[in-house]
C-alpha cells in the first residue's frame, strides 16, 4: 500500500516536473486545450442562459380562454368548476367588466372605449399549467377549446415551439462541437506524449531491462496527460468567466432596454471542476492511446 502510494506520488511529481521542464511547449499545449474546451463550455453557458431567459419570458406559460359573448353566470361557474377539478393548473377569472376597465386605463384606448355603445369584450380565464412543455400546453389548450361556451383559446405556442426547437438545435450543435473539440484535445495530448516517449526512449529502454513494469513506465505519461488536460480545463473555465465578465455590462444594458432585469448566470465552481475533470479524462485517454502505440517498438 505504501509502495503503491510512493509510486503514484512519484509519478505525479514526475508529471509535474515534465510540465515545468518545457514551460513554452506546456504553455502552448495548455492554450490549445484551454481554447478547445472554452468554445463548447461557452456555448453551454450561453444556451443555459437562453433557456433561463425563455422560461422567464412572460405570457409564454399562459393560456387565455375567451368565452362566448353571451355566456351566462351559470355557464361561467360551470367552467370554473371544471377548472377546479383539473389537476396541475392555476387559473384566474377575468370578468369582461374588468377587461374593459383595464383597456380604459391604457391611454390610447380610453377614448375609443368610451365611444363604444356596449362592452365588446368577453369573459376570460387565464390558465397557467404547471407543465410548460410545448406539447403539454398544446394538449391542454386543445381540451379547453372543446369545453362548452369557449369561443377561443389563445396560446403563444408557436413562439414557444420555435424557441424550443432553437434550443434543441443549439444543444445538438453544441454536442457536435464538444465532440469535435474533445477529439482535438485527445489528438493534442496524443502528439505531446508521443514526442515525450521518443525523447525518453533511452530511459524507457534501460528501465525495462532492469525490471520496470509496464505500469511503472506508463504511469508518468498518464499523469502528465491528465494533469495537462485538467489545467487546460481550468484555463477554459477562467476564459469563460472572463468572457462573461466582459459581456455582463452590455447584456445588462440590453436587458434594461427591454425593461427586464437579466444577468448572465456564470458557471459555478462545480462547472469549473467538471471542465477540469473532463479535460483530465480526455488527456488521460490521449496519453493512454499514445503510450500504447509508442511503446510497442520497445517490445
Amino acid at each position: 500500500m505504501s509502495a503503491w502510494l510512493t509510486q503514484h506520488s512519484a509519478a505525479l511529481a514526475a508529471a509535474f516536473r515534465r510540465l515545468l521542464a518545457a514551460p513554452m511547449s506546456t504553455l502552448l499545449s495548455l492554450l490549445v486545450i484551454g481554447i478547445a474546451l472554452t468554445l463548447p463550455a461557452f456555448g453551454y453557458v450561453l444556451l443555459d442562459n437562453l433557456r433561463e431567459l425563455g422560461s422567464r419570458a412572460s405570457g409564454v406559460k399562459q393560456i387565455s380562454v375567451f368565452l362566448e359573448l353571451g355566456a351566462s353566470r351559470k355557464e361561467v361557474a360551470e367552467i370554473e368548476s371544471r377548472l377546479r377539478q383539473a389537476s396541475g393548473l392555476t387559473w384566474r377569472f377575468v370578468p369582461r367588466e374588468e377587461a374593459l376597465k383595464r383597456l380604459q386605463q391604457t391611454e390610447e384606448m380610453a377614448e375609443i372605449v368610451a365611444s363604444l355603445p356596449r362592452n365588446p369584450l368577453p369573459d376570460a380565464f387565464i390558465v397557467e399549467p404547471a407543465d410548460t412543455e410545448p406539447a403539454a400546453l398544446e394538449a391542454i389548450s386543445k381540451e379547453l377549446a372543446g369545453w362548452p361556451k369557449v369561443a377561443h383559446v389563445q396560446l403563444d405556442s408557436a413562439w414557444v415551439k420555435r424557441f424550443d426547437a432553437f434550443l434543441r438545435l443549439g444543444r445538438l450543435a453544441l454536442a457536435m462541437l464538444a465532440g469535435l473539440f474533445a477529439a482535438g484535445l485527445v489528438a493534442v495530448t496524443f502528439n505531446t506524449i508521443r514526442l515525450q516517449v521518443m525523447a525518453r526512449a533511452a530511459e524507457i529502454e534501460v528501465a525495462r531491462m532492469i525490471g520496470a513494469t509496464d505500469a511503472f513506465i506508463r504511469r508518468p505519461f498518464y499523469y502528465f496527460g491528465a494533469l495537462q488536460g485538467a489545467l487546460g480545463g481550468l484555463l477554459a473555465a477562467g476564459i469563460v468567466l472572463g468572457g462573461l465578465h466582459l459581456l455582463a455590462g452590455p447584456v445588462g444594458e440590453l436587458a434594461a432596454l427591454y425593461g427586464a432585469a437579466f444577468a448572465l448566470k456564470a458557471p459555478t465552481a462545480i462547472g469549473a471542476a467538471v471542465l477540469a475533470a473532463g479535460g483530465a479524462l480526455l488527456g488521460w485517454l490521449g496519453a493512454q492511446l499514445s503510450v500504447s502505440l509508442s511503446l510497442r517498438k520497445f517490445d
Binding site: W4, V206, M209, I210, G211
Partner: protein, 216 residues
C-alpha cells in the same frame, strides 16, 4: 543456482547466437564468459538476466524456470539481477545520483530511503563526490563505476557484467576488477563477459568459452 540446459537463442532473422549451451553456476561463484567478437557473450548474459528469452532449452535461476515465465512476471525476475551493459546505458539527461536512483524507483522505495542507498552505492564505487555530475562529465573509468553502482544499488543476488573493462587502461581496469572481487567476497554471484586475458587466467577454470554460440 544458475542451471542452463541445451540453451539456444535464435534471433529474428534466423541467426543462432547461442547454440545448445549447458552449464551450471553455483551461488557465490565468480564465472567469466569469454570468446571472440560475435561469439554470443552478450546474448548469453542477456538470457540469464531474462532480457532475452530463450528459443529453446531451459534456464533455471534460484529454482525458477526463466524459459517458462509469464510475460507479467518478467520485470520482477529482472530485478534479481544487477546488470552492467556493454554500452553502459547511462542516462545523460540527469545526474549520476539520479542514474543510480532509477532501480530503486522501479522497486518503489521511498525517495528518502532511495537517496540514502544510492549514495551508499556511489560511495562504494568512489563517486560520492561526483553525485551531482552529469555522467557525460565523467571519465570512462568513472562512467563504468557509475554503471556498477546502478547495478548493485538494489542488492542483487547475481551481478552480470558485459565487458566492464573494455576501453579502460590497466589501472582503471584493475579498480573495476577489485570491485567485482569485493562483491564476490560478500557472497554475490558474479558473471562477467570479458576479453581481458589476465582476468581470464586469474579465474581459470571458472571460464565459459564460447565459439560461434557453442560452449567449448
Amino acid at each position: 543456482m544458475i542451471v542452463a540446459s541445451n540453451l539456444t537463442k535464435r534471433y529474428p532473422g534466423g541467426y543462432e547466437a547461442v547454440r545448445d549451451v549447458s552449464f551450471e553456476i553455483s551461488a557465490g561463484q565468480m564465472v567469466l564468459v569469454s570468446g571472440h567478437s560475435g561469439a554470443g557473450k552478450t546474448t548469453l548474459v542477456k538470457l540469464i538476466a531474462s532480457i532475452e528469452r530463450p528459443t529453446s532449452g531451459s534456464l533455471v535461476v534460484n529454482g525458477q524456470n526463466l524459459s517458462a515465465l509469464r510475460r507479467s512476471a518478467i520485470p520482477y525476475v529482472r530485478r534479481h539481477f544487477g546488470m552492467i551493459f556493454q554500452d553502459q546505458k547511462l542516462l545523460f539527461d540527469r545526474s549520476a545520483l539520479d542514474n543510480v536512483l532509477l532501480p530503486l524507483q522501479i522497486a518503489g522505495l521511498s525517495r528518502r530511503d532511495a537517496i540514502r542507498r544510492a549514495q551508499a552505492a556511489l560511495d562504494k564505487v568512489g563517486l560520492l563526490a561526483r553525485e551531482k555530475a552529469n555522467p557525460i562529465a565523467l571519465s570512462g573509468g568513472e562512467q563504468q563505476r557509475l554503471a556498477i553502482a546502478r547495478a548493485v544499488v538494489n542488492r542483487p543476488t547475481v551481478l552480470l557484467a558485459d565487458e566492464p573493462t573494455a576501453n579502460l587502461d590497466s589501472d582503471s581496469a584493475g579498480d573495476i576488477l577489485e570491485l567485482f572481487a569485493d562483491f564476490h567476497r560478500v557472497g554475490v554471484t558474479v558473471v562477467v563477459a570479458t576479453h581481458d586475458q589476465s582476468w581470464i587466467e586469474r579465474c581459470h577454470p571458472n571460464v565459459l568459452r564460447l565459439d560461434h554460440g557453442r560452449l567449448l
